[in-house]
Symmetry: C2
Subunit: 355 residues, 2 copies
DNA sequence: GCCTGGCACTCCTGTGTGCCGACTGCTAAC
DNA sequence: GTTAGCAGTCGGCACACAGGAGTGCCAGGC
């Protein structure tokens, strides 16, 4: 199809310049503008010929006959993959990210939310974050606490700072010593594990060794289960009002479609989650991915692009950051921002949560 | 000023009808429309005279010379206070509220968020909820857990399901028995209390009685403090995209102003929180309040109204629900929805959280 | 004295027209 | 292969104009 060889050096430069110019101005780019603003060494007529070929090859689109050219999905794709200069974080951005995480919260939910605010503020687009599933949290502690002969409190503490806890009533008296013994056995067995490694069968095994009553075994099992269970996937989004500034969303119908997607967390989750799954199966490179227009497989998002990047906890990608904006987004900058923020977030999680 | 006697029966009916019609159509209401759609018994010329007087008295406004009339803040205010029929929840709405809370989450944060989704869905406007401050949560349990001679885990469990927990390292060995004794003393002293009643001095008193080491006392104090502390006030909002359907927000600048307020949780909180404070000082009636246009004291919200209603935990108003929408909102229905939802939310909290 | 029909007036809104400018594609010459 | 020039296309904007909705006022009637 459109092989690299389709694009000689000059054509590639013209394509890159059209994309660059369109990203900055939001106006279709014409041949004269191009020769005036950029030093191309040839006349506008030559550019016109080249642009006509680029259109025939599918890289550019003309909104109407007497307008300039606008990049197509394929045009953006080529720009992102081959033509664009990778950008580094600016000093200022790096500082703001560092400042944010220096005094960030220790509560996972808050950190995730604050991260989306940071990223939307820096990027001027909509920022999204998927929080680590509870399954990936580190087990920290379980304690069966004697309240009265027939009632106990069972608490599970994980690295998420989230403690599943419930009070149980027993049919017969239970001694505080028994509870302590069971607590100790569970803690020594599960210490250092991640929650998803602790199956009901593991709990059963420990209980069986100590001859624990069936009610207590079931109680412990259920508390572990609810410490792992994650009703809704945790997802946060911020900066929807940034999209209003983009001329492509001045159309209310488009805007509404986007806002609906943002409020329906399920859709937002699906949009990004498959990248997370892929991240842990393939040899993970933790590099940012860009999906452009129809690549998102959602009609409402046909004029949008998404930059996604996983963040790590230990050696594993546990969550995703994403930036959603118009296709006409400054890819280089946003990729740098997303990567930098993901790295800092990962470091913060490792600093704060593992002890 | 504009006393009740200003409005004879016919004028009041005309005002009510204009407001009602405008709420339904979003179009300025003219005298002919009024006579045609409503059985007024007089000609349009008479209505014109009355409407001119209502305008002079400040209840109506004319967008431009050749347009019909639109209610002013004062017009809406009079409508809400004196002219409107109170509405009951429709069977369908009542059922949907009931269904929602029947299988609602047991986690406070989730409940609050789900409630805003419910309320925005039912009302077709933006719904906001302030979660109960952690100070109002009931103390449930504290436990000092022996991990090793020199390290312990301190856990505080409250009705919010939120456990403050932290691991401490001691300068000298500490026995498991001492920790248990202190735990028991704290639990029996604080059982049945609300978090805000547990001051550092109370912790100190218990520790002093048991001759607890200063480091341990400080550790317990700090965990209690962070169990109470509430960095950001918890606030949730949902349904911003509903506002797009309202013709008054087709102006992008207005829309952006509103969205900015919604994303800045602080502003949103301030908007509603004073009502909550008032609720617990005066003799609380827990009835809905309506604030209209400039009564909101925010230029961006000059064309909006807010319905607020507190919800109760026990006998105390602990949080607020609010509906934000255009002034042209169906006040009767929204008041019924907000009240009904607040009542169900309160009942749910009492059912689930207190045991 | 209140109500009403009629009428002149105001002003928004939608539509049609024509012009301007931006840009292209093509051709012929270099 | 490149370029200048030119004709052709089309969107956007300003403008004028007609239509319509609604008002305020006045004179006459019950």
């Amino acid at each position: 199809m459109n092989d690299k060889r389709d694009l000689d050096k000059r054509k590639a430069f013209i394509l890159a310049t059209v994309v660059y110019e369109y990203i900055n101005t939001a106006e279709p780019v014409g041949s004269v503008t191009l020769t005036q603003k950029y030093n191309l060494g040839v006349s506008s007529a030559t550019i016109r010929n080249e642009m006509a070929e680029l259109e025939a090859e599918g890289y550019l689109v003309q909104p109407h006959t007497s307008a300039g050219r606008v990049p197509s999905d394929a045009g953006y794709r080529t720009y992102v993959d081959r033509l664009m200069q990778p950008e580094a974080l600016t000093k200022d951005d790096a500082r703001r990210i560092r400042d944010q995480f220096r005094d960030a919260s220790r509560e996972l939910d808050d950190v995730i939310e604050q991260t989306t605010r940071l990223l939307s503020g820096l990027s001027g687009n909509l920022a999204i974050a998927i929080a680590p599933s509870r399954d990936t949290h580190a087990f920290k502690h379980v304690q069966l606490i004697w309240l009265s002969p027939r009632t106990s409190l069972v608490v599970v503490v994980t690295s998420g700072g989230v403690a599943a806890q419930r009070v149980f009533e027993w049919p017969a008296d239970v001694g505080a010593d028994d509870l302590t013994r069971l607590s100790n056995a569970l803690n020594s067995r599960f210490g250092g594990r991640v929650m998803e490694e602790i199956a009901p069968a593991n709990v059963d095994a420990v209980c069986a060794e100590l001859n624990v009553a069936a009610e207590i075994r079931d109680a412990v099992r259920s508390v572990f289960a609810s410490a792992r269970q994650t009703g809704e996937p945790e997802i946060a989004a911020a900066g929807a009002q940034n999209l209003l500034d983009q001329p492509e969303f001045h159309d209310l119908r488009k805007l509404r479609a986007i806002l609906r997607i943002v409020e329906e967390q399920r859709t937002l989750y699906d949009l990004i989650a498959d990248e997370l799954a892929a991240e842990n199966t393939a040899n993970a490179d933790a590099s940012p991915h860009v999906r452009i227009g129809h690549e998102l497989r959602a009609d409402e998002l046909a004029e949008c692009s998404v930059v996604t990047v996983p963040y790590r906890f230990g050696d594993r990608a546990v969550g995703m950051l994403a930036i959603l904006g118009p296709r006409r987004m400054p890819y280089g900058r946003l990729i740098a921002l997303a990567s930098g923020t993901a790295r800092s977030l990962g470091e913060h999680l490792n600093d704060v949560e593992i002890r």
